[in-house]
């Protein structure tokens, strides 16, 4: 017997984003534009954490990794025209060392519109390169 009854299933799909950032380029931007660059890209909390580095090199590594993470998150948000302001994507570090993404403003609105329920990130750096990946979980419904 074939049932004509249809069912709605919740389906989770994934989006991934990745970005590479040159650490020396971020250090150059800080030297050239100072707080104008920091305030445009990073939240107060991010800048405060990064500036706790033991050296200017470590601060630049932290800033570059966060810049890469924000760009990776933009890639999973897939903006059609307007991109979210950088400060609406915040990388928050927990005392144990892992980081999570907190979205506010336009970034949060874009995520909600896309059905993104969660974004996980991972960051690393080596030499003059910082890298970050983002994985977004997208909830959608499917008629079965």
């Amino acid at each position: 017997m074939i049932s004509s009854e249809s069912h709605t299933q919740c389906v989770t799909t994934l989006r991934t984003g990745v970005d590479l950032t040159k650490i020396s380029s971020v250090a150059d931007s800080v030297r050239t534009f100072g707080t104008a660059f920091l305030n445009r890209i990073f939240t107060e909390g991010e800048t405060e954490y990064c500036e706790q580095g033991t050296s200017t090199a470590e601060t630049a590594q932290r800033l570059a990794a966060r810049f890469a993470a924000k760009e990776a998150v933009v890639k999973v948000l897939r903006p059609l025209e307007f991109r979210p302001e950088w400060t609406s994507i915040e990388i928050v570090r927990h005392p144990s060392g892992w980081c999570e993404v907190v979205l506010t403003g336009t970034a949060a609105a874009m995520a909600a519109e896309a059905g993104i329920t969660e974004i996980q990130i991972s960051m690393s750096h080596e030499g003059d390169t910082a890298i970050a990946t983002a994985v977004a979980f997208v909830a959608s419904t499917k008629q079965g």
């Binding site: 380029s25 933009v74 302001e85």
Partner: protein, 85 residues
Amino acid sequence: MSVEKIRSLIAQHGRLSIDIEALKNADDLYRAGLTSHASVNLMLALEDEFDIEFPESYLKRGTFESINSIGMALAEITGDMSMAN
């Protein structure tokens, strides 16, 4: 004058993979090597030079796509339409 200034700032901050002299005003700057990070630097340099602040609504790929589109954005922000030429 402003086009020359825009070109000079792109040469200084755009980190393009080709010479600015080889670029036409309508050429795609992203295809010429402009990265997201370099576009931030360029935006901050333009803000310094023209004493403006790019509103949130100008944070889109199209704003920094070409020398012409930057000139148009500056004209709209400053109200000086001669910058669009």
